[in-house]
């Protein structure tokens, strides 16, 4: 255990903007830079069974950030929860920093996948969820965060179809919907996944109680999607 790890309890939601500023130098962040912030915070603060003390615990929940673009919000939450030393944030993007403009699972404890190229996370998540089922692990759940524009990538739809058919109850996708998809059908995300056998919840992506409620909605024998609506990009 590194001595530089901060105490998770010492940081709360109100600290996240300041932690992001350590990376960006910006006092205020645009809504698109923080589109994932409230969902990621809610996941780490109240939903995920993960710990910076044991980031590789086989019984942990798996959180796969597929939308790796603009990871400052993710890094800020990871720092607040003790996975990343605070002092590393200011080296964001430097040659020897583990914190790049897209996260790398091989460099940061607790990060499940390297992301950046869109449309990879959900397909990997179906494999992870299937592997857990194959190994008889009932406890760990798999969460995968994607963007509404990321859903334009066809690879997601290969995964959506399979997850529905395999009834991957241990899989939850969260779609951050800031209406940035080109040629999207308005309001069509939940409907599309429901056709493939998923359960769905549509929540206010800025309301922590609403997000939590959507994430904890029971979905027996079905994968689940939470569409988290935030400000239009």
């Amino acid at each position: 255990m590194q001595s530089t790890r901060n105490t998770p309890a010492a940081y709360g939601y109100d600290d996240l903007q300041r932690l992001m500023t350590l990376m960006t130098g910006d006092e205020k962040h645009s809504t698109s830079a923080t589109s994932t912030l409230d969902v990621v915070w809610t996941l780490y603060d109240t939903v995920l069974n993960v710990s910076s003390e044991a980031p590789d615990d086989p019984e942990r929940d798996r959180f796969l950030l597929s939308k790796g673009h603009g990871p400052m919000a993710y890094y800020a939450v990871l720092a607040a929860k003790g996975f990343i030393p605070i002092e590393q944030l200011s080296d964001f993007g430097q040659f020897n920093s583990p914190l790049g403009y897209h996260p790398d699972a091989n460099l940061i404890p607790g990060v499940e996948i390297a992301s950046g190229s869109l449309g990879h996370g959900l397909p990997i998540a179906t494999g992870v969820a299937s592997a857990l089922r194959l190994k008889g692990q009932q406890k760990p759940r798999v969460f995968c965060l994607i963007g509404d524009a990321e859903l334009d990538e066809g690879s997601n739809h290969e995964a959506i179809a399979l997850a529905g058919r395999l009834q991957l109850e241990n899989l939850t996708a969260i779609v951050i919907d800031n209406r940035s998809s080109t040629h999207a059908w308005p309001g069509g995300i939940a409907a599309r996944l429901e056709v493939e056998g998923w359960s769905s919840a549509t929540v206010n992506g800025r309301d922590h109680e609403d997000i939590k409620s959507g994430l904890e909605q029971p979905h027996p024998a079905q994968p689940h999607v939470v569409v988290a609506q935030v400000e239009e990009k």
Binding site: G119, I124, T126, V128, S130, L132, S155, A159, A161
Partner: protein
Amino acid sequence: MVTASMRDSFISTADQLLSERQDTAVVLADIGVSQFREAGVLDRHPDRILNVGIREQLQVSFAAGLAKEGIRPIVHTYAPFLVERPYEQIKLDFGHQGVTGVFISVGASYDSTVSGRTHQAPEDVALMATLPDWQIHVPGHADEAAQLILSAANSEHSSYVRLSEESNSSGRSVNTGKMSVEKRGSGGAPVVVAVGPKLDPTLEAVANMDVTVLYATTVRPFDTDTLRSVAGQNVVLIEPYLEGTSAQEVSAALSDTPHRLLSIGVQRKELRNYGTIADHNAAHGLDPASLRERITRFIDNGRA
């Protein structure tokens, strides 16, 4: 007696692996399902033969997800759909994620001549060779395929095993990663490196010629040491896929010694013909007569 094909050999070897190792799984995209079913393997291991349907991008990413959880995936489909279509998934979801698996293709180069270009991928080895840390095996016989698949599955590396319809008449005992000396010429004689199923046509082509013939069933990593131990001034490389795929490996191996290299393989051209494998071998200059003519011209200091 009907000789087993490389694909038959794969099915039975996978059956053996699934029985011996609970941490293995076969990931399919429809292709191969009927063969596993007919051999009874699907019934024996219903939970660990996972068919994702005709979704090759997902096939690779799904397998990476299995690997992330400690399951050794054996990913199998037709070469163009295994390597070319989901190439970014292989690069990122295996290499960049830092997990490993075993990829086994059928439909090598122009195995399926009558299917046309959509089912042909002579570029497969060249593409896989751009990725760091992948081992690439090219068996020349069903017996070698079984040895190489077992060796690949039981290693910790990522491996690509290229199975083909073309086969040498007999299999060798494979020392994985090492080339064998199939014919020894006089000191300093030209060296001909034959890869996988190109061994038989090569041996026929160089009959009565004073050359050394090396046989390779693993091309990445390339067996530099064996090549250096026998190499003279002239080297001929005969590969059953895109010509020149391993030329850089030969050049790097011999960078400290003056040498000439002739690279022979499937030519970079859009061949809009069907017919037989023999027809295509002739069209690409890979039949014994064409090989002999090119090798002779090269050794005689011509441009072949």
